[in-house]
């Protein structure tokens, strides 16, 4: 009994340690979190992969590598472009970046890193940037007057709700991503602590790969939808 209790305690201790957003190092008293360091790694991987993949692009007779790259990048581009339309084309590269970043972040648990999206700082940052972009796209499209008027549309009674949406949208975006990844991470850590062999594989496939990619998709898809909604002119 005492033995089992200590075993459970050690699992819990281990889990709490895993859940902790550790400070990797600090510069001048500012602690750099693990998520930021992992983000740097992801950035480096993405950029190096991009440079490597975009070498020797040919207009005619593209190779298999180029065709796959074009299908992936073009598909992602057109996914956003179809929703946003001509006016929103300028925001597409950012949305693609976020999609790639969240996608890689969510599945990086497979490689033994802690997903940066498990850190509330990262999801808040993503959500803040999304809401800024959403509101900016409306402002850019409609001008100041149209942007302000959009708060009392379709009827002025909705003004408080429209203002609340400014906060609800990013909070829901941020918490959905954070909760999903944190939940998946906790389940995976528990599983790994209890049954370290074989059993985690299918769960990892679901929680790390499937759920991770779905959450990346949902995040950017909702951001895009909010933007196209914001840019809609009556």
């Amino acid at each position: 009994m005492r033995k089992e209790g200590s075993y459970t305690d050690s699992i819990i201790d281990n889990l709490i340690e895993e859940l902790e957003c550790e400070t990797v190092f600090s510069i001048g008293g500012i602690g750099i979190a693990e998520s930021v360091v992992v983000t740097w790694i992801i950035m480096a991987v993405l950029v190096i992969a991009s440079i490597f993949l975009t070498r020797n692009l040919k207009v005619e007779n593209p190779g298999k590598r180029q065709l796959a790259l074009e299908a992936a990048v073009g598909g992602l581009f057109h996914f956003f472009d179809d929703i946003l339309g001509k006016d929103g084309r300028r925001y597409v590269p950012y949305l693609m970046t976020v999609a790639l970043y969240i996608g890689v972040s969510n599945i990086i648990g497979i490689f033994g890193f802690k997903p940066p999206t498990k850190d509330l700082n990262v999801t808040i940052a993503l959500a803040v940037m999304s809401i800024v972009l959403i509101e900016y796209s409306g402002f850019h499209k409609k001008g100041l007057k149209g942007f302000i008027r959009s708060f009392i549309e379709p009827v002025p009674v909705l003004l408080p709700i429209n203002i609340m949406e400014l906060f609800i949208k990013p909070v829901s975006l941020c918490m959905r991503l954070f909760g999903n990844i944190l939940g998946a991470f906790v389940i995976m850590e528990l599983l790994k602590a209890i049954v370290p062999a074989i059993v985690p594989i299918p769960f990892s496939a679901y929680f790390d790969l499937f759920d991770g990619l779905i959450q990346a998709y949902v995040f950017v898809f909702l951001t895009t939808l909010f933007m196209s909604e914001q840019m809609e002119t009556e």
Binding site: I32, M43, L46, S50, P116, L120, I124, L126
Partner: protein, 166 residues
Amino acid sequence: MLRIDLNLLFTVINLIVLFLLLRHFLVKPVMGIIEKREALIQGQLDSASQTQQKANELKSQYEAALAGADGEAEQIVARARDKAKAEENRIIEKANQEAGKIMKEAKTAIELEREQEMKKLQNQVAGLALSAVEKVLSEQLGEQQSSSLYDQFLKETGGTYDTNRA
């Protein structure tokens, strides 16, 4: 476990940097290539449709020319047929005329011959009659001889006539 601090700002900076890097290294090259290829394909399609249009124009021209040639050929054949028909008619007409003329000539020739023959015959008959009369007068025949004489005359005339006919 939950901490919100300056790392939020770092993440924002990271995201912006990542956005700029990826836009420069991934999106621009790939989309640029795709656009270039689309422009190339569009250009080829345009030129293809232009070529086709030209070909169609030429085809309709040729078809018109061919139709004209067909009509002309038909005209020529019809003209030739008309000409041949006219020639045929003319030849037949001419042949008919000639045949008629020949028949007519033949008829007149036959008529002439017959007349001549008749005249000759009459002359002979007249000569015979004269010789018969001469005989009767010269020999002063008896009554009983007259019938045999008559028979002789008839025989002579008939013989001459028969010989003539033959």
